[in-house]
């Protein structure tokens, strides 16, 4: 997971202009899978976000995979980044990974933090699901 984080960090560092970073995230948002309507249900919805975001978890062998979708393309891009970081790992690996390590990406500043921090909600959801699947 740490490697993926560092890869994103390198990607982000290429951008002189903040707007280019957003272009990149929007791009990721568009490229990422779109869930079918049935999966966009209350169970998969992340609570505490301003717009709607869904995380679907698949388990293949021992490993978890996250498919994400969202109403807004920027949040969707952000969700995609998280999915990339955390997918293809066992629940235990996920739980062992210190979320503080994400700080270097400053992802929480992408979607402006309002009262309920959408970014934290997504992260919480990932760790919660990993725990369930232990």
């Amino acid at each position: 997971m740490e490697e993926t984080v560092y890869n994103y960090k390198e990607d982000f560092e290429l951008f002189d202009d903040d707007m280019d970073k957003y272009e990149y995230i929007i791009d990721l948002g568009k490229k990422s899978v779109t869930l079918n309507e049935a999966d966009k249900n209350e169970t998969n919805k992340i609570k505490g976000c301003q717009s709607s975001v869904w995380f679907v978890v698949r388990k293949v062998d021992d490993k978890l995979f996250f498919d994400t979708d969202g109403d807004t393309v920027i949040v969707k891009g952000l969700a995609f980044i998280l999915a990339q970081i955390y997918s293809n790992h066992t629940p235990q690996e996920i739980l062992d990974f210190d979320r503080e390590k994400l700080k270097i990406l400053n992802l929480d500043e992408i979607i402006s933090p309002v009262r309920q921090n959408g970014f934290t909600s997504m992260l919480n959801a990932i760790y919660a699901r990993a725990k369930e699947e232990l």
Binding site: Y22, D71, I111
Partner: protein
């Protein structure tokens, strides 16, 4: 007077390079407002009404002069028709608890009300009746009449200008109609009073609420106008120091309105700043304000027409103070984030009118709202940033 001169009155615009198009949420404050509050805090800071010392009398005098200023601004007949509150929301809640709760069963509202003019009626368990809006979001006066017929002697409470769509209701006409059916009328002028002259006598409002922070004044203070004839029917709401004639453990004798409703230490600095903000508006004058803001709306409207896939709501060309829109296929939150990154501050979301959004079948909109300090250039920068945002998302 030029807009540049006006902008110079606002320290906010000296310190940063942001385009501020969110005055509908809260307006920036001119230096004179900050100065009078500073004077209170540094020169004659004291509690009011209760003191027998010179400082306290000075503060009391300024506070009561502020009340007079609010009365004059709204053209109230008497200064004791003005109660200071902590804002429009608390003014409406005061009316809900102090007047409507025990006197009415039915409350009639428009389809454009702010949450602050919906939830207090739910909390006090009134039957809520919503006037239909027409296609262009204007009120359906025929439906209003039918509600009045069905529920005469009810409480009617209406926003003068919609904070989400800039639509202005024909308040004077509606008040007259409501009175014909024995209703009492509250006017929510939180959004309108900064854009148009509000005259409680002309509107014949029974209650009217405003917030200082939307009128170039400080936070934490607002006012409630209560027509003198109704004072007798108003009951105590919050109890505390300063509001009483005599207290025993058995019973309390209250002062008359407004004091009955000003329990506890008041926001003295806020009242003084509030009055100064209203004076500031007076020196500019509504003629100037309306002419200038109309120019901004016209310019925005014209530009908006040329934005591809734009969706507007209601009669945008005649909007007061704010314009709301969406872009087909783009989430308003995405636009909000990208505009922010380009240093343009607008508001996106439901603007505290969720029921109206529900009836339009949307979750929210992008809203730009104006203060007298905004320039045509602000609007131009906004549209350039909007264009770039749309391109980024649609690319």
């Amino acid at each position: 007077m030029s807009i540049n001169e006006i902008r110079d009155d606002f320290p906010f615009f000296k310190d940063n390079k942001l385009i501020y198009l969110d005055s509908g949420a809260t307006a920036q404050k001119p230096q004179v407002v900050l100065d009078v509050m500073h004077d209170y805090y540094t020169k004659y800071c004291a509690n009011i009404h209760r003191a027998a010392h010179g400082l306290g009398n000075h503060a009391t005098k300024e506070y009561e002069d502020a009340r007079q200023k609010v009365a004059d601004f709204l053209n109230a007949k008497k200064k004791d028709e003005i109660v200071f509150t902590s804002g429009a929301t608390s003014s409406i809640n005061l009316v809900a608890y102090g007047f409507v709760k025990d006197n009415f069963e039915h409350v009639i509202i428009s389809g454009l009300e702010h949450h602050s003019n919906i939830i207090p009626w739910q909390i006090t368990e009134k039957a809520l009746h919503v006037i239909d809006s027409k296609e262009d979001l204007s009120v359906d006066l025929e439906h209003f009449k039918s509600l009045l017929k069905k529920y005469p002697k009810s409480f009617v409470t209406l926003t003068q200008t919609s904070n989400a769509f800039g639509i202005t209701l024909p308040i004077k006409e509606m008040t007259e109609l409501a009175h014909q059916y024995g209703c009492k009328v509250l006017v929510d002028a939180a959004q309108s009073a900064v854009h148009t002259k509000v005259d409680v006598q002309d509107l014949d409002a029974d209650f009217l609420v405003i917030s200082a922070h939307k009128l170039y004044g400080p936070t934490g203070i607002g006012a409630l106008y209560i027509k003198k004839d109704l004072h007798e029917l108003c009951k105590a709401f919050q109890g505390g120091g300063g509001a009483i004639k005599e207290v025993t453990y058995k019973n309390t004798l209250f002062m008359p309105i407004p004091y009955m409703y000003e329990a506890g230490t008041q926001h003295i600095a806020g009242a003084i700043g509030f009055a100064k903000a209203l004076e500031y508006i007076d020196t500019i004058g509504f003629d100037f304000i309306q002419k200038h803001e109309k120019e901004l709306i016209d310019y925005a409207y014209e530009n908006l027409l040329h934005v591809k896939d734009v969706i507007t709501y209601g009669d945008t060309l005649n909007a007061t103070g704010n314009i709301s829109f969406n872009i087909q296929g783009i989430h308003h939150q995405d636009l909000g984030i990208l505009l922010d990154k380009q240093k343009v501050q607008v508001r996106v979301g439901h603007h505290c009118v969720q029921p109206t959004m529900q009836s339009l079948g949307v979750e929210g909109t992008v809203r730009i709202s104006f203060g007298v300090y905004n320039t045509v250039k602000d609007v131009a920068v906004f549209f350039a940033a909007l264009k770039r945002s749309i391109e980024m998302i649609k690319a």
